[in-house]
Amino acid sequence: MGLTKFEIAKRISKELQNGYYVNLGIGIPTLISNYIPDNISVIMQSENGLLGMGPFPNKDNVDSDLINAGKETVTTLDGSSLFSSAESFAMIRRGRVNLTVLGAMEVSQYGDIANWKIPGKMVKGMGGAMDLVASAKNIIVAMMHTNKKGESKLLTKCSLPITGIKCVKKIVTNLAVIDIENEQFILKERAPGVSVGEIIAATEGELLVPDSVPEMDI
């Protein structure tokens, strides 16, 4: 129901502004680079140590020394720079990265995010997510509205171990665009063909629904 993951990425691409430095997490966020509007220029940061990340290479110029934070082979562009991981996180903590988009298992109405651990089941680690959410000024979460069991991922309180507190400002799911303000979710847009009632039913946390909720422009 609602948007595909590609359409979620496309909707988030509308949040990009000219001159932004952007860090995209693994999964849906990575897809956003396919939808950057032609009239703006943004620079992608890869937290292992690359600014100005280019597209995937052609078969002939795959370079094992050039990967992104998802460990995929990438390319550099005119104007790219390479640096250490310490420098990479220095620029992140310094607040120079304008937008961070990442996936999540749960988000609370307070803007808390959980995306790194399921106790007893999955222990992959937080990677750079804790540093990013603690420092980025503008954090958008890209995720499905519910989990595989059909349970809401937009909660009053996260049940999984937290990655960061009070940091998420906007969530784009397959069903809706939701902002977080004053410790509650605010419904801003609904996916084409999705009713406000369906969004309310899929949202466990406190959701403010304005009188009019426009349909997303995809």
């Binding site: 903590r93 937080m126 750079g128």
Partner: protein, 229 residues
């Protein structure tokens, strides 16, 4: 001055069981392949490894996990390694998971003579447990300590006899900070070049930090995810 050793085996002559070792690399990119193989061959056990990742099942630090030579991993992301996950969930392996930027900075601090620093990463999470919290300008920060390690194993693209190093691409990652941080730093390089042939303007790690250097052999430089257009 000559810091050149013949091979990986010779450079690790004094690495003992239960050593703490930093290993450069992000994923399989920029990892000290020859030094890892030498640790496997010598069967040094009880290791504490400080490394962003834990390799994959049959490459990188995964090779040391398979042979049960690792007692503890200090990393930020350990996915993609099923043997690791199995040992961890069975309680056979100690693991300390640390935010990536904090991991990098704890290496940098160790190499810069700074015993501790404050970072916002991990505030309000289980990472903050038992850590000092201090408020600067109304925002909370955690105190994090510099790492202590017996050895740092790094991998560079080019190096010379006095230990000057240049990395290539994103294979730089954790290598420069770790190179500064080991009590003893061992660098393996793809190409050992004569002193004077590296442009001083382009050196990433000044030789003062490096104790031993050797030219590695048979680099596989495996790619974890080959992605093309």
């Amino acid at each position: 001055m000559n810091k050149i050793f013949k091979n990986a085996k010779d450079t690790i002559f004094d690495v003992k069981n239960n050593a703490t070792i930093m290993l450069g690399g992000f994923g399989l990119c920029g990892i000290p392949e020859n030094l890892i193989s030498a640790l496997v061959a010598k069967n040094i056990t009880g290791l504490t490894c400080i490394s962003n990742n834990a390799g994959v099942d049959d490459f990188g630090i995964g090779l040391l996990l398979k042979t049960r030579q690792v007692k503890k991993m200090i990393s930020s992301y350990v996915g993609e390694n099923s043997e690791f996950e199995r040992q961890l969930l069975n309680g056979e392996l100690e693991v300390d998971l640390i935010p990536q930027g904090t991991l990098a900075e704890r290496c940098r601090a160790a190499g810069a003579g700074i015993p501790a620093f404050y970072t916002p990463a991990g505030v309000g999470t289980e990472v903050a447990k038992n850590k000092e919290i201090k408020i600067f300008n109304g925002k909370e920060y955690l105190m994090e300590l510099a790492f202590e390690s017996d050895f740092a194993f790094v991998k560079a693209w080019k190096g010379d006899a006095i230990g000057n190093l240049i990395y290539r691409g994103t294979a730089r990652n954790f290598n420069p900070m770790m190179a500064t941080a080991g009590k003893i730093t061992i660098a393996e390089v793809e190409e050992l070049v004569p002193v004077g042939s590296l442009d001083p303007n382009t050196i990433h790690t000044p030789g003062i930090y490096v104790d031993r250097v050797f030219e590695g052999k048979n680099y596989e430089k495996r790619i974890e995810k080959i992605t093309t257009q």
